[in-house]
Symmetry: C2
Subunit: 261 residues, 2 copies
């Protein structure tokens, strides 16, 4: 391995959050500073190359890229091989980091929001630290903290659980366990779900949480049709009784949050 570079670094670049919605000009969402830096980077590691190229075209439309898109070095994040115990070997990370180790600034970009938060990328960031590279993060929004802010639930103590177990009994047990922790510690619980299961998750939470627990759902925040609803489980149940069902978008990511009374 080459000696740690003094100039090479990993730069975490936030993406917009309008995945799946009508895209806006990117300077409506990201700051000039982020756009300037993104336009100057020649090396990228990305969640998916297709989405990264579409991001870079949006950047180019408001802040011309330093080099043509075709000339940029764009690698996709390596995924763990099956049976590898969910880890990527260090030699693979080192190969991905070669441009940074030889002095380049390398951008890390995910398909939406901040890389490495509820998104892939943490393995690469950890490898960058382990190889003595500087890690920089540009200011950008994460859908989780936007949802939490909009919920009115406790933002001084919260936990993001990722996805709940799929099997109904396990899911119910975990929901109850997290509700108890929420009550004991005053900790808001956040989970996400594959969009086509949004409605089923909301139904399950309404059934399994206590009536006095406050439950909030945020969807498409920062997009024109974005919304956040926050009320007690009892009030959600009354709403379902009136409407017969609880319609939820099945193609847009949502964040589900609860805080026990």
């Amino acid at each position: 391995m080459s000696a740690p570079s003094t100039t090479g670094r990993l730069v975490l670049v936030p993406n917009a959050l309008d995945l799946g919605a009508e895209p806006e000009p990117i300077d409506a969402i990201l700051s000039q500073q982020v756009l300037r830096r993104a336009a100057s980077l020649t090396h990228w590691v990305v969640e998916s190359a297709k989405t990264a190229r579409s991001f870079l075209k949006r950047v180019d439309a408001v802040h011309p890229l330093g080099q043509p898109l075709q000339a940029l070095d764009i690698q996709e994040l390596p995924r763990p091989r099956k049976g590898s115990g969910d880890t990527v070997p260090d030699a693979v990370w080192q190969a991905v980091l070669t441009p940074a180790l030889s002095g380049h600034e390398v951008g890390l970009l995910s398909d939406a929001g901040l890389p490495a938060v509820a998104d892939p990328g943490a393995g690469l960031v950890a490898a960058a630290h382990a190889h003595g590279l500087r890690v920089e993060v540009l200011a950008g929004a994460s859908s989780l903290t936007l949802a939490l802010a909009a919920s009115g639930l406790n933002g001084q103590r919260f936990a993001f659980e990722g996805y709940l177990p799929q099997a109904p009994a396990e899911r119910q047990a975990r929901v109850r366990e997290l509700e108890q922790r929420s009550r004991r510690e005053g900790q808001t619980q956040l989970v996400i779900e594959t969009p086509y299961r949004n409605e089923a998750l909301l139904q399950a939470l309404c059934q399994q949480l206590q009536p006095s627990t406050r439950l909030a759902v945020a969807c498409g925040l920062t997009s024109a049709g974005g919304w956040c609803e926050s009320k007690t489980v009892e009030a959600w149940r009354r709403q379902v009784q009136r409407a017969g069902r609880m319609p939820m978008p099945d193609k847009l990511p949502a964040v589900f949050m609860w805080l026990a009374a």
Copy 2:
């Protein structure tokens, strides 16, 4: 109470994160969309009026305010009275929300980053939901998710604990409990501290966490001198042994994060 307004709403406005550091032009940090909306709001509820006026002057410098600063309606967030059990009576929230209930868009702003996340404001957001107002959040960064992204620790499962207990024995017990939870659930733990105690907290974490636990510290991210260091507790200890102490900025907020192996 007046009937819920169809136009009035609470708009959560992100602030910059360069609190205490050299301020940059605000359009380097916030998007055009956020600046345009912030410049148009005539009613505000804020963590502190002084910091809000300085924010609005920075906005005005790049995106002229719709009305002069002196003409804006700026209220400070009510604080719970002592002995009131840490709650603000609903009548107080309702008074604060009067402009929104009569049809205005009211901005909520904290001194740095996103309102209501590791910052005051959640009580007002909850009251807005309870009074049938729409709650909107503009895209902006939270120092917590930026720190987590930069740490390379698990961003698919994490918890923000706020401040640890001050008493040494209680603090140690809580650190150990959160380390065990981190090991069991793969959950990254995040805490913050009053800046002048940053160095003491880092020392305590280095002593109390297991050598193999990964510990990361982020400070001043998005500012020119910002940094994030992430390594095992064992590596932090070796660094202290070499340097004699572990210098930390005593005026800048830092985020401390750990993930047990």
